[in-house]
């Protein structure tokens, strides 16, 4: 029982990260009907850049990025603000450059052209990160002074609480924006019918730019949370995040934001709980390394039973 609760808590944490990533895929898919394969790399870029900020400001030191003076009070808030806002800004700017230079000229190109270009952007971006930030696995500080709580016998860290609160706040903000504001209505209108949106006076390109910015910002938060949670970041992590984020988006019903969140959490849970029990169930034959089996099983089953995803409806493109 304790093992289960423990894995479930861990799974929820990682699931929230997947949900944030999935939303970026989903929203871009909603307005452009394309898979932005570079999104996973943009998430990692956020983490890489904020790590650079931490080093440049002397907050972390040495190869292991150790924090010598514990962060507390105002200083902690400022550092967290710098890390997250800096990462979001860097991912957003990069994302907008990609949109302008690659995706916009391809707006009317065939799906295959766009797909291959997006893969190309992903490879270019991860390699650029290797060149700029280095090819080694980097340790990433958790920034918070570790504290643990006991929940039903399992431990839950203050970092997990932090990630949960941050994600929930972002989700509330995002759902409010998409459902209740003028920009949100424009995003949904552009997703449904770009030409009609233009006829009503909506600057479609500006709305698409806003969507890329939103997606990249959420992605950077996810990438930084991921790095803090695992204590490391690596220029190839984007590939993993892409697969899992995209799988969550598809399972949830691409374009359906609620579906993305549910599927992200589901995949995080499955991965952690499944990974925890796999060695026990198989008598040690399969280790936790095989935990992704569950993700892809669910993906396959979803695609067979309900191709539009858990909450997706074939005709609805962006819905919150």
């Amino acid at each position: 029982m304790t093992t289960f609760v423990q894995q479930a808590l861990n799974g929820l944490t990682i699931g929230m990260i997947y949900a944030l990533i999935a939303l970026g895929y989903s929203m871009v898919y909603g307005v452009l009907k394309m898979v932005n394969f570079a999104h996973g790399d943009l998430c990692v870029l956020g983490a890489m850049f904020s790590l650079t900020l931490l080093r440049a400001t002397g907050i972390t030191k040495g190869r292991l990025n150790i924090i010598e003076v514990p962060l507390t009070g105002t200083r902690l808030v400022l550092v967290l603000g710098m890390v997250f806002l800096g990462g979001m800004l860097c991912s957003t700017i990069t994302s907008l450059i990609i949109e302008r230079l690659v995706y916009r000229p391809l707006r009317r190109a065939s799906i295959l052209t766009v797909l291959v270009s997006a893969l190309g952007v992903s490879i270019a971006l991860s390699n650029a990160m290797m060149l700029v930030f280095g090819r080694e696995m980097k340790s990433f500080p958790s920034l918070l002074k570790k504290q643990y709580f006991t929940v039903l016998g399992a431990t839950y860290s203050n970092l997990q609480v932090f990630i949960a609160i941050l994600t929930i706040l972002l989700l509330i903000g995002l759902f409010y924006l998409v459902n209740k504001t003028t920009l949100g209505r424009c995003i949904r209108a552009v997703a449904l019918d770009k030409d009609m949106a233009g006829l009503l006076g909506i600057n479609v390109n500006r709305v698409i730019v806003a969507v890329f910015a939103l997606g990249a910002s959420l992605g950077a938060v996810a990438g930084i949370s991921h790095a803090m949670y695992y204590g490391q970041t690596y220029y190839l992590t984007g590939y993993q995040l892409m697969i899992l984020g995209w799988a969550s988006a598809v399972i949830g019903g691409i374009g359906d934001m609620r579906g993305c969140v549910i599927a992200g959490l589901l995949i995080g849970l499955l991965e952690a709980v499944g990974g925890g029990y796999l060695p026990i169930l198989t008598g040690g034959l399969f280790g936790a390394d095989y935990r992704r089996i569950f993700v892809f099983l669910v993906l396959i089953v979803t695609l067979v039973i309900k191709p539009a995803g858990i909450l997706g409806k074939p005709e609805v493109i962006v819905k919150a």
Partner: protein, 237 residues
């Protein structure tokens, strides 16, 4: 004075011209009808004026300003609204959200309440259905919403592409009456119709479009009694 003047307009789809150098004008306060058979180029004309299609040559002058080639959102912001063929409602969004999107070009001028009331006065039904998804409305209600959405922008020129399509005869009459009412409130109207008899009987002036060329023009009454029009568009007598 002419609010809209189109001069030698040519629009092509992949090299093939759909309109081949048409010219016409719409004066302030008029209802002008554009009639023509399927494929004549009526929708293409409206889409080109709206900026959703780029003309390969010719001029579109709105309120003294050349607008051909401008992006569609800028043209909308000048006060040209189109109610396109097939309504093109945002079907998963509510009636209210569709109307608010119609108000987008006026969003800086304050709250949409007054524009909304004006639309409800014309179409009380929409007020009752405010929170219903547009996709679940009846055909007639959808047409009301499509027109209502365009009116939310308080357009100077309203272009309607086959507003009577798919409506029961009684409803056609209601919609056409409403169009007259809208004109009486000061909105200039360019009306594209398959239902040539109805369009001509309410239009101040009209043009007949035939495979990309304007072949006839005159007042609504003139065309309504023109032998060629009767033969081609009114199904003889």
């Amino acid at each position: 004075m002419s609010l809209l003047r189109v001069e030698n307009l040519v629009t092509k789809y992949g090299g093939i011209p759909a309109i081949k150098g048409i010219s016409f004008e719409v004066r302030e306060g008029e209802i002008v009808a554009l009639i023509g058979a399927n494929g004549a180029g009526k929708s293409t004309t409206l889409m080109t004026i709206s900026g959703a299609l780029k003309p390969s040559s010719g001029k579109i002058i709105f309120d003294g300003k050349e607008i051909q080639g401008m992006p569609s959102h800028e043209i909308a912001n000048l006060g040209i609204m189109q109610c396109p063929e097939g309504r093109r409602l945002f079907s998963s969004m509510t009636v209210e959200e569709n109307l608010l999107l119609g108000y987008y070009s006026r969003r800086r001028e304050g709250k949409p309440g007054e524009a909304m009331q004006r639309v409800f006065k014309l179409f009380p039904r929409l007020e009752e259905r405010l929170h219903q998804a547009a996709g679940t409305l009846s055909g007639g209600e959808r047409q009301m919403l499509a027109i209502g959405r365009a009116l939310m922008a308080k357009p100077r020129l309203l272009m309607l592409d086959e507003p009577s399509l798919g409506l029961a005869p009684k409803l056609v009459e209601t919609v056409l009456d409403t169009i007259k009412q809208i004109r009486d409130e000061g909105v200039t109207i360019l009306l594209v119709e398959q239902n040539a008899r109805a369009a001509l009987s309410m239009a101040d002036r009209a043009y007949a479009l035939e495979v990309g060329n304007i072949t006839l023009e005159g007042t609504g009454q003139e065309l309504l009694h023109d032998e060629r029009v009767i033969k081609a568009y009114l199904g003889g007598r």
